[in-house]
Symmetry: C2
Subunit: 244 residues, 2 copies
């Protein structure tokens, strides 16, 4: 109630308000529907007014990612490297789930902003503090890849448009026919997809527990990191081995 939106004087725009409104809008409408014009409308302002606060749309997206990063928990102070990494990654994952647009936004960024560099620096710091050589820390961070941000490359999760018009519900017969056709065309996919969902009666896909899959892969990698770390792995020695 500090300022009325009607009447004479309007709330002044600023970068934070622009970024936060953009985040909220992307949360609701999806990233594809977020345009400068739509955002301006949401802020009750003419499109070009935004350009006094962000350089261009790229800068807007960079700013949105920085808002996201601020939501990720800082490194846990007392934890060993493995738990520190694990907790941080899972916290990042939670932030990404609050903001479904973020995966695409992060991936589409061309160059890292300071906030992003800081985020990555803190990861490197955890590994180094845990006794990793810079060499191993380097390769290990590459191996983590996007998982550092809390997502695996899940293709076809269908979350592009939130609440996209679902296809009309199929009759049981149509479902059975579809299943039979899938089974004929892609028997292995059907086998593999139906394995992990006894509890869930749905046809292929969307029956599996994303969180479980994510942690499965994350822990598999962390296990590998730990093993290499313990046995004093170094890339020089591997390259030598490959050459010899």
């Amino acid at each position: 109630m500090s300022q009325k939106t009607d009447g004479r004087s309007r709330v002044r725009l600023n970068r934070s308000r622009v970024l936060e409104t953009a985040v909220a809008l992307a949360d609701t409408l999806g990233i594809d529907a977020l345009s400068m014009r739509r955002l301006a409308q949401e802020l009750d302002v003419v499109p070009m007014a935004l350009y006094k606060h962000v350089a261009d749309k790229e800068d807007l997206l960079d700013g949105m990612v920085e808002v996201l990063i601020r939501e990720i928990d800082p490194p846990a102070p007392g934890a060993d490297w493995r738990n520190a990494i694990r907790l941080r990654v899972l916290s990042a994952r939670q932030a990404l789930q609050r903001h479904p647009w973020a995966r695409q936004a992060i991936e589409s960024r061309a160059r890292p902003t300071p906030a992003v560099l800081e985020y990555q620096d803190s990861f490197a710091g955890i590994f180094l503090a845990g006794g990793f050589t810079p060499d191993l820390a380097h390769h290990v961070m590459h191996a983590l890849g996007g998982r550092m941000w809390g997502f695996t490359q899940e293709l076809f999760d269908g979350s592009a448009a939130p609440a996209a018009e679902a296809p009309p519900p199929l009759t049981p017969e149509a479902q059975a026919a579809m299943f039979a056709q899938m089974q004929e065309l892609y028997p292995n996919i059907v086998t593999v997809a139906t394995a992990a969902q006894h509890d869930d009666g749905s046809v292929v896909g969307h029956g599996c527990d994303d969180q479980f899959e994510f942690e499965f892969a994350l822990d598999l990698l962390l296990d590998g990191f730990e093993r290499l770390h313990r046995q004093g792995w170094s890339s020089a020695q591997v390259r030598k081995q490959a050459a010899g």
Copy 2:
């Protein structure tokens, strides 16, 4: 020389020609510069003519991905599962390096086409034939994630625009100053980034061997898969353990 492009009768358009020209154009211009209009121009045709051969731009991109998939080697016949997967993934990687646009195109696809399903099915088939339970095969494919397509999600590889205007070459003093600033702001990144590039004098980034990083992560995962496979891992048992 079968048909002249000038004179009266023009070469007839068809889906293949559209898709292959689109692929070639994306290879040269980058995916962002590939518009229906630009593609039509390349084919010496009016933009709307394309719509007789592809439903819309989404369909065009789907088709381009299918062209890509056809370039990936089929599973090696005699190999054990581990080599079969490894070879296939590395072949996919080569295809992706020939077509830098493909990573983004694959990631942006909302729903899998038959060609994509077939590709994934063959992966599942390799694991199952190698004696993996459907359960383990499922989780393992999730863990591979995008790596199945030959890419890790490398953020900020700067390959968005091919031959983007490079910043003017910095003087040695400017480079040194920049390095000093990086070292102050992001000491861990500098430590980790400079570790793996004694041969290459460049400042942070782009000095590391992408192929090595990719295989490092891939083999780390394959090692993990192998271990779980040997010890008869099952998700049920893990969940029970977590609960108990």
